[in-house]
Structure formats: C-alpha cells, structure tokens
Symmetry: C2
Subunit: 347 residues, 2 copies
C-alpha cells in the first residue's frame, strides 16, 4: 500500500503534513509514503509543474494524497507550464475520470453558510463530476480567421463510453445513498449534452432502483441556491461539474472541511481538499488541515478498503470540531499544528 | 415607436397582457403594439417556434416585449423545432448580443432569499452576458467515430470583435454604476477564455475610470454565494452567463420581479421577465406579472429613451409592493389581474 504524497504549493505542504501525521499514527501495516513535487513548487525545481519523476511516483503508487497547487506569481507562464496543469495532467495520465465531491453540512456548523441555517442544514449531496473529457481535453487553439480576426476555440465533446462509465459511477453512488440521481446537462443547446442525456437514460435501465431526473445546468445553479437539500447525487460533465461543485461547496460554508476523491477505474485514486493553495496565509501555520485529513480518510476507504480506519479519522475530526477546535476559516483561532494535534489526540 | 409583443407559452400571455395594459395606460404618443406568435404556441399554429411572419414583425419593430416560451409536451420534437429555439433564433437573427440581467433585492423583500438577509440585502449587481457567440452558436453535431462509438460535439469559440463589443457594453454599464467590472472566464483551461481575457484587457485601456478584475467561473459561482454584494457588473460569455445569471437571480429570491434586456447594436432590444413559462400555473390567473411590467419599463428606457415613463412604471411597481400587493411567488395571494390593477392604480 503505497501512497504518493504531493503537497504542492502555498498551504499545501502544511496541511498535507498534518494528514501524514494522522496516517502514520494509525500504524497501518504495510503503508508506505513517498513524496513528489507538483505545481509551482515543481516548476521552480524542475521547470515543469508535473515532472516525469512525479508521474512515475504516481504510477508506482496505489493512491495519491494531494495538497493544493496554484501560484499567482507564475501566471505569466504559458498555460502548459502553470501549476494547475499538474492537476489536469494527473487526471488525464492516470485516467482519474470520476470526481466525487460530497457537500454536507457538519452538525452545529450550519451558521457558517451564507444560506439560512434551515436551508444549509439540509445540504447532504454528492456531485459526481466527469474529469477526463468535455471541453477540458478537446482540441483547442487560437487562430487568425481569413479576415484577420483572432479567434480562440475549444472543442467540447463526449463519446458514449465516456458518458457511460461516469453514469455508472453516478448510479452506483446513488444506490449507496438515497437512490436519487440528477443528471445535469444543457441538452436544449448542446449536442454533447443531448448525447450525454441519451446515454444516461440507456444506462438507467440497469438501475431500476435509482430514480433518475434531468436538469439543465442553469436551473441546477438556481436549485442549489433555492433548495440544495433536495439533491442526493448529481452527475454531470467536466465543465458544469467544475462550476456546480464549487457552488455547492460554498453553500456548505466551510470549504476548509471539504474533501474530494478523483477515481480511476479500479481502486486507484487521488484525494485532495477542495480548497486552493491560499498563498495569502501560506507558511503562517494558519491553514485548517481538516479537509486534507478527511481526504486521507477517503483515501483509506476508497483505495484500500480500510473502512474502520477511515471512520476513525472522520470521528476524530468530528470530535475535535464538537470540542470547539476550529481554524480561522470556521471562525475559530486554532492553527494548523494545533488542529492536527487535536485530531491525533482523538483518534 | 413600434413594439412587437410576443407573449409565447404558459403564463406568457397572462403576464404580457398586464404589461400591455400598463404601456397603454401611459398613453405615449405614437406608440404602436403588434402581436406575433412564438414558441410552442407558434409551433402548434404554424409548425415552427419562430415563424417567418414573426421574424418579419420583429424586424419591422423598434423593440420586442417578450413573455416566455417553453412547453414540456413538445420535448420530443427535434431540437430545431422546440419552443426555446425561438429565443435563440431571435437573438441570432436580430443581433441581440448583450443580455443585461440586473439582480437587486427590493427593500423589504430580503426575506424571500434563501441567503441570510444581511447577505441578500446587499445584492445589487448587473450581469452582462454575451448572447450571440460561444458554444451556443458554433458548429455542432453527433457523429460516429471510426471505432463505432457515438460522439456528441459542439465548437466553442469567440472572435476578438465579438468579445470587444460585449466588453464595451460591460465597461459602459460599469461607468453608469459603481465603476467595477469583473470579467468571468475559465482562462486556466480554455483558449476561448484566454482570448476573451486578452481582449477585455485591451479594451480596458479605454476605460481608465473602471476597475477591472478577472475571475474564474468556478470561483465566481462560489463568490455569488459567499458575498454577492461585492459584485457591481459582471461581464461574461454566453454559457457562463447563462449559469451565473440564473444563480444570481435565485440569490435575490424573487424571480417573479426580475426583468432583462437583450440588446442589439443601436437601440433595438428584446425585453423579457427572467422567469419561464411555468406551465403548472398557466391559465389560472396566478402568475405575477411584475417582472414583465418591469421589462416594459426597461424597454421604454433603453429602446425609446423614455426615462420618465420607465421610472413611473418602476415607481408604481415599488409602491404596489410596499403596499403589500404580492403574488404567490412572493408569499402573497394577489392574482395576475389584481397585481396589474394595483400597478395601474399607482401609475
Ligand atoms: C485548476 C483547474 C484547472 C481545476 C478545474 O477546472 O478542474 C479546478 O478548478 C478544479 O475544479 O479542480
Ligand atoms: C432556453 C435557453 C436556450 C436559454 C439559454 O440557455 O440561453 C435560457 O436558459 C436563457 O437563459 O435565456
């Protein structure tokens, strides 16, 4: 059981260090951790945000614990060299096609949401976002048209097998929850979405126990504000998933607590907090490591089937929160190490 | 001054009728109203959601007052014949490239939002959405790949002149408000967005009095939940604008009050409520016509420069609201005609 630890930029190293302490404290037999460079940090050392050596470490591992990447001071670089490309590169190279983004309000933390507590308190949804296709990975470029005008272009597309495998992921997730799947698309405008919808309907025949609905993305963005508690599982494409999963996270209010998994076929996966590299507080010991610690729990569960250990971590985090151990992002004053210590003490 | 009145489907005719009564009550010299069929209603009569005769009426008019289109019972039709295509057709045929979507919370109605009143109460923003380009109007189709798989595809693109004219619209709108423009894109992934950003920056040189910022669309979806009051004007492309403008509307909470304008170069424009055809309450006299009445006010202001008349309508609506005249959507019990009467009485 080999875990690649890619801490990345900004607060990435600080929060990852706490998650590593938690993993080590569990003393799981045969667990091995290997570090690698990604993002802006990797660019500065090796000239590339996703060096071949890092990819090699990823490939020879069974799961990745990821911190965060992003560094505004590298914004001038051509896109292929910017820190975020490490994320896109790992997703594509490792076939991480299913992004699971749970958004749930922790009991007692309803007040952190800008939504009314009675609305926020009901949020318990999972967004299953496709991560290997769509306009993200199609051909793209800038060209000069015949009349001399510059044009930027990106090809959006989905092939049926790409939709089928993420649809299965969505239906399976719904089976493990409340049995409701909402597929989000823009089939009134996009052919990509029409194919998406057709294939999701085909796949639904295999899941008679799941109630399938369809929603246009603009309406989904409205319903996430109006009544987010009505959603169970949402399955959607890469671009719409990017937008809606971030919107849903903010509806929860405590993005310092939200973990995510990006899964390949089989058990391989990359696990990361949904927050970014937060350069403004980096290196100050202020970042809340809970989302990364919870990502480590997801890792143990999904990639290694270590349900008991995952639950232990989650219970320890919940206990720390219940005892009032909160980072600045949650309105508290606990620092990175202090929160790590608190979780360790409650394992 | 010729206004084409396209009432459309569902509650469209009911709400439009009240707006027409308001327009007529103003007894504006030389104002002429001409009706035309659009949407599902037009499809049933003429076999097309946007018949040539309707387009002709639009072309020979100076502005369009639009109700709503949409009819689930026509969902089985090929996309080109579905009601919503009337909207896309009018936008393209008439060059309606700038969609203005104000989102403001009416004083005293903060409680209608699912956002906390202190957050909702600060919402006063305008989304300027490009309406003639992007993945909406690019080439698209479904094809069978060499290996036999079906694939749906849509070309996303923007040319520099398309970005330039909507950027100007955004900067001008910001000049007329608080002088802050936020351009939303996904330049970390899309070449279309990179060109968008480059051109917006070029255009900004002509507006030194406007403070320009850039935001990725996923972050914008978060900030609209976290602190919508921080936005003044948002300018964005067709697809992102579709999602964000609906999200922003729902943050306001009272979509039965929100009007919109879709403007061409010059003074021509189409004005419509942002709500849909609401087939569930159609024909029952329950729909709130205020958003359509406010759309008529926008029409008088933007297309005819009749600022005083526009302000009279807006003041009458505000007065009716202040007097507690509220439709079911706002938690009241006033019907369509009753609300129309109340506004007329306060003109
Ligand atoms: C960094 C960026 C390319 C990425 C994305 O758009 O997928 C991020 O926003 C995310 O959601 O992980
Ligand atoms: C009906 C649909 C094609 C349209 C759009 O996506 O533009 C609608 O959602 C809107 O925003 O006016």
């Amino acid at each position: 059981m080999r875990i690649a630890v890619f801490a990345g930029d900004g607060i990435g190293p600080e929060v990852t260090a706490e998650a590593v302490r938690v993993l080590e404290a569990l003393q799981i037999d045969g667990l091995e951790l290997v570090e690698g460079d990604v993002g802006g940090a990797a660019y500065r050392k090796h000239g590339h945000p996703l060096p071949a050596a890092t990819l090699e470490i990823a490939r020879s591992s069974d799961a990745i614990l990821f911190g965060a990447v992003g560094d505004f001071s590298l914004d001038h670089l051509e896109r292929a060299l910017r820190p975020e490309q490490a994320v896109l590169g790992l997703r594509k190279e490792l076939g991480l096609f299913a992004n699971l983004r749970p958004a749930t309000v922790f009991k007692g933390l309803e007040d952190l949401s800008t939504l009314r507590p009675e609305v926020a308190g009901k949020i318990d949804l999972l967004i299953v976002r496709e991560l290997n296709g769509d306009v993200y990975f199609g051909e793209k470029g800038t060209r000069t048209l015949e009349d001399g005008r510059r044009q930027g272009w990106d090809m959006m597309s989905y092939a049926e097998d790409e939709v089928r495998r993420i649809a299965h992921a969505g239906f399976k997730a719904a089976q493990g929850r409340c049995g409701k799947l909402c597929s989000v698309d823009k089939a009134n405008v996009l052919e990509t979405s029409q194919l998406w919808r057709d294939v999701v309907i085909e796949v639904s025949a295999e899941y008679p126990d799941v109630e399938l609905t369809h929603m246009y993305v603009d309406n989904a963005a409205m319903q996430l504000v109006k009544n987010p508690g009505a959603f169970d599982v949402i399955v959607t494409g890469n671009l719409f998933g990017d937008i809606l999963s971030d919107q849903a996270s903010m509806c929860v209010g405590s993005i310092g607590l939200l973990a995510s998994a990006s899964l390949a076929e089989g058990t391989f996966g990359l696990y990361e907090p949904i927050h970014g590299s937060a350069p403004d507080i980096a290196g100050k010991g202020l970042a809340n490591p809970m989302a990364t610690i919870l990502s480590a729990a997801m890792l143990l569960r999904h990639s290694f089937g270590l349900e008991a250990e995952a639950a232990r971590i989650e219970a320890a985090v919940a206990a720390a929160l219940a005892d009032g151990i909160k980072g600045g992002d949650l309105g508290g004053s606990a620092g990175t190490k202090e929160i790590g210590d608190a979780v360790l003490a409650r394992l």
